[in-house]
Each structure stands twice: as C-alpha cells, then as structure tokens.
C-alpha cells in the first residue's frame, strides 16, 4: 500500500495529465468526426480554464458550477466562431481556427483579470484524479453512444462526403456547428478541470503547440473510434516517462521519437495505432462507406 501511495506521489501529476489530455483529444475528435479540422481546441480549453479559474478565485464560485460555466462559455465562443468559419474547408478551416486561437491567447496575455503573461496564480486545487477519470469515462461512453446515434451517422456522412450528405437532405451546416460547439464545450470542460489542478495556468499552455499536440494524439491513436484519441493521448503523454525508464532521457531524443512515431503512423498506419487492434474487429463496424477506407 505504501508502495502504491509512493507511486501516486511520483506519477500523480503524470496520471492527471494523461486524463486531461485524453479528454482534450476527444474534444478534437468530435470535430474531426464531422470532417472538420479545427485547431481551436486548445483555445477553447483556455477559455474554459480561465473562466472557471477566475470564477473560483475571484468570485468564490464553488468548483462544479465554475467548471460548468467554463464549459458553457467555451461553447458560446465555439458558436460565435463556428458560424463564420465553417464555410471554409480543410486547411483553411484549420488556419482560421488557429488564428482564432492565437487571438484568444494574445487577448488573455494582455488583460489584467487573467493575470497577463504570468497567468492565474493560486487557483484552488479542486480537481482530483478520480474526478478526471470519472469524467473521462462518462465522456468516452457518451461519444461511443453518439457514434451510432442519428447525430453520429450524420457526422460520419458529412466526414465521408459532404456534398453527398447534403444531397441526401442532411442539414450539414447544423451538424457541423453542432460538432464544433460540442467540441468547444468539451475542451472548455477539460480546460476548467486543468485549471484547478496545479495552482496555475498561463497562456502558453493553451497555445499553438498544444493544438498541434492534440492533433497528433488523434492521428497517432486513430480517428475512427473514440478510444483512438484516448490511446494516442495516453501513449504520447506517458512516452517521456517510459523512455526515461529505458534510459532515453535527453530532450532531443524524446522529441525525435514523437516525430518518428507520427511519421510512421501517417505513412504506414493512416488510421492510427488502434487500427492494429481493429483488424480483428467485428463486421458490424464496417459500413458500406468504409470501402473508401485506406487500410
């Protein structure tokens, strides 16, 4: 028992971090599921995190309502941004959401209430490990169910071929915005949890490189099922520690390993690492549209 307690003392923050990254990866997954490459997840997480942090710190709002508020505010931001931006496709959408993310980061940097560049210091530590993983399981379950609901199939059809979906009478705009807003809310939720983890959040933690990391978790894990991004998040967040155990500690080597894994996946396993397991998957998963799936 003592050894277990020690394990948590050392790796506690890593385990927390893995959980949060998994939820964040899922928030990106939601938009990818509808075929949208949104790079704004990090910014929405930041909005959620700062909102919740300011509420608990300055206004003494209790933890859960603050987190909910953070989520909602992020969702509203998602709606406001989504409307003008969802006309764009592919790379342009990615760049637009990215620039939105940068504008948010700079705004936060310059406003006093967010503590500026030094961030919010002294946020009460409310987030517990079990809370994070409970949330992760609920979210994972929810997304898994979503996949086979009407909404999920609409997302899937938009992702595969938007024009055909429109021709079939699906209100693609509505569903795209829905995916975007849900993704934003989930990101805001994760951000709010994260804010209450380590006393401190800074604008740097919600910037461009984080957005790229989330994309990498999704790609490496695989975007065909909800456990793909989760797996990607777990693997890549824990990777530095695993490498440390095998003796590879230098910063460059870890970074290079991340890059090499991503390259290998995109070249040889474009559906992510989880597709290794799914080769033994059930027939139920394959819809006729899957014929276009590159294996």
């Amino acid at each position: 028992m003592e050894a277990l307690a020690q394990f948590f003392a050392i790796y506690g923050s890593l385990i927390n971090f893995i959980g949060i990254n998994a939820i964040l990866a899922l928030s990106l997954y939601l938009t990818l599921a509808a075929g949208q490459l949104s790079m704004g997840s990090a910014a929405f997480a930041g909005i959620g995190g700062y909102t919740a942090g300011i509420l608990t710190m300055k206004l003494g709002v209790p933890f859960l309502p603050a987190v909910a508020a953070g989520s909602v505010v992020a969702g509203i931001a998602g709606l406001l941004i989504g409307l003008p931006v969802l006309r764009l496709t592919g790379v342009f959408l990615a760049i637009a959401t990215l620039s939105f993310g940068e504008v948010v980061r700079i705004a936060v940097l310059n406003v006093d209430i967010t503590g500026g560049a030094q961030g919010l210091v002294g946020i009460p530590n409310h987030t517990k490990t079990w809370g994070i993983y409970l949330a992760l399981m609920v979210v994972g379950y929810g997304i898994a169910r979503l996949r086979y609901s009407r909404i999920g199939w609409c997302f899937e059809s938009i992702r595969e071929d938007e024009t055909a979906a429109k021709a079939m009478g699906i209100d693609t705009t509505y569903y795209k915005i829905l995916a975007f807003v849900l993704g934003a809310m989930l990101a805001g939720f994760a951000g709010a949890l994260y804010a209450h983890l380590n006393y401190l959040i800074t604008p740097r933690e919600f910037g461009f490189s984080v957005a790229v990391d989330l994309l990498i978790y999704n790609i490496v894990g695989g975007t065909r099922a909800w456990y793909g991004p989760v797996f990607g998040a777990i693997l890549l967040t824990a990777l530095p520690e695993i490498l440390r155990g095998t003796g590879i500690t230098a910063g460059p080597m870890r970074m290079a390993t991340n890059g090499l894994i991503l390259l290998a996946v995109i070249l040889f396993l474009p559906n992510g690492l989880v597709s290794i397991f799914r080769r033994t998957g059930t027939k139920r998963e394959k819809s006729p549209l899957a014929a276009s799936e590159e294996a």
Partner: protein, 296 residues
C-alpha cells in the same frame, strides 16, 4: 517625423525577411496544395548550419551562406522523398501531407536541438562587419541593407526563373494542373522535388539572414515565424509569389507600427492574426490568390 521614418525602415527590414520566408511556403502550396509545416524547421536549421560552418569550420560568411542554403535545398529534397512523395497517391493527400510535414518538423527540430543544444547561440562577433549610417536622425546599418538587398535579389531571381526558365515554367504548369502537365511530357515528380529544393533553400536563406540580424539563433526560432509565415501567405494569397512578398512587407510594417504605437510587444501579433482571421472569413483567396479554392 524621423521617428516614423525609422519605424518604417525597421518594418521594411523585418518585412523583407518575412517575405523571403513566405515565398518558400507559398511555392510549395501553389504546386502541391499542401501546407509544408516543416518549412519553419528548415528555416531554423539553415541558420544553425550556417553558424556551424562559420564557427566550427571556419568558413567566411560569404561561403557559409550559399553552402547552408544548398544544404537546406537538399533537406527539401529529403522532405519530399520521405514525407510527401509516398502520400501522393492517397485521396486525402493534402491532409496526410500536412500531418507528415508536422512529423518532419518535429524530427528536424529535435535534430537541431540535439546537434546544437538548447541554448541561444550567436554568430561570432565580426562575422559580418557592420557599419552604421546615420542621416537626419535615421539609423540604418549596413547589415540591414545587405539583408534587404539579398532578399530582394532572391525574390527577383525566383520570379524571373518562374517566368522565363523552362524548369520554372514547368513548375507553373504543374501548379496549374499536374495531370495536364504530365500529359505534356513534364516529369512531374522531378519538378515537384525541384520545387521543394528551391522552397527549402529560400527558407534556409531567410533563417540565416534572421539569425545574422537579430544576433540570436536557437532551435525554436522557427516557432515565432511559423505562424507569421502562414498569415503572410494567406494574406497575400496562397500560391502567389508577389502576394507573399507584399504580404511579408505589409506584415512587417504592421508589426512594427503596432509595437511603436502601443509601446508593448504583446499586441504585436494580435493585429496580424485578426487580419488573418478576417481575410479568411471574408476572402479566403487572399489579396492575390487564385479565385478558385481547391479542396485543401
């Protein structure tokens, strides 16, 4: 009055470096419809390799510059070979190309980190002899003039090349429609590889000039210019070389003037990204881009 003039000089100077960087970006996008996010990493490596050549190998900067530019061109070929060519057959090649360029960027940056260390390094003093010219309160260094001259020269050479030379025209043909180009007997894969060569060479050149002027090189120096380069090519229009040049200058000026007016560097990027966002929403093809927007 000369305050404004000095700020304009500052802005034009940094703008020409941005423009040089952006040209490489937009060249690849115009030809391949792919965003090569490893471009910033090549920018970084260009500067660091030049530093290594000057410091460790004792070359003069006039030798190290072309040598490093050449090496960056070769890195571009490597990029094409490893990260882009294998994916060309795929239906979603734009997206997967983007991802693999991110992967290569990470690998390049970790190489820079491993080979050159995490610290900020500098070209040895007197690598380039600098004289300062003062005139009516305006201050311009010879280094600034040299850098602007080199940037303009390279940009001009590229534009001429694309318009006049056979290979240049072939590149434009492939950019227009690669299938037709193939039918016309153009060796498309080779042209694409060559485009990468030029693009990365230019990126590396921009990195060396940046490092020379700001007297500081570090493995993450690409980060700051990565997003700006993106903004520049969107503003100027993806695939348009004049757009990239003008966009770069406009960007440089807006940056400098924003900082001058607000007295703080915090908002420097805000103006840029707000403009970028607005341009994307209102007119995604940018100022000079092609009207039809391909699926990217």
């Amino acid at each position: 009055m000369d305050l404004l003039a000095q700020q304009l000089v500052n802005g034009l100077f940094i703008g020409s470096v941005y423009g040089l960087f952006a040209i490489g970006y937009t060249l690849v996008f115009g030809v391949l419809d792919i965003l090569n996010l490893a471009h910033a990493a090549v920018f970084t490596l260009g500067g660091l390799i030049a530093l290594w050549l000057v410091e460790t190998c004792g070359l003069s900067i006039w030798m190290a510059f072309p040598a490093s530019v050449l090496i960056c061109g070769l890195l571009g070929l490597l990029l094409d070979r490893v990260a882009f060519a294998p994916l060309r057959q795929r239906a979603d090649s734009n997206f997967s190309g983007l991802i693999s360029s991110i992967a290569m960027a990470i690998i390049f940056e970790s190489a820079a980190l491993g080979l050159f260390g995490a610290r900020t390094v500098r070209f040895p003093a007197h690598t380039v002899s600098v004289s300062v010219w003062r005139w009516e309160g305006l201050s311009i260094t010879s280094l600034q003039v040299e850098i602007v001259a080199i940037s303009i020269l390279l940009m001009f050479a590229l534009t001429q090349f694309l318009n006049r030379a056979r290979v240049g025209k072939a590149i434009r043909a492939v950019a227009e429609n690669d299938r037709t180009a193939r039918l016309l007997g153009i060796h498309v894969d080779g042209i694409i590889a060559f485009t990468f060569f030029i693009s990365s060479a230019l990126g590396g050149a921009a990195g060396i000039l940046f490092g020379l002027y700001f007297d500081s090189l570090s493995p993450d120096m690409g980060r700051s210019i990565e997003l700006k380069g993106l903004a520049v090519i969107i503003l100027g229009g993806m695939g348009s070389i004049p757009g990239a040049i003008l966009g770069g200058l406009a960007f440089g000026l807006s940056e400098v003037l924003t900082v001058a007016i607000t007295g703080t560097s915090n908002l420097r990027d805000a103006v840029a990204f707000t403009v970028l966002f607005t341009v994307l929403v209102l007119r995604p093809s940018g100022l000079f881009g092609r009207k039809k927007l391909r699926e990217a």
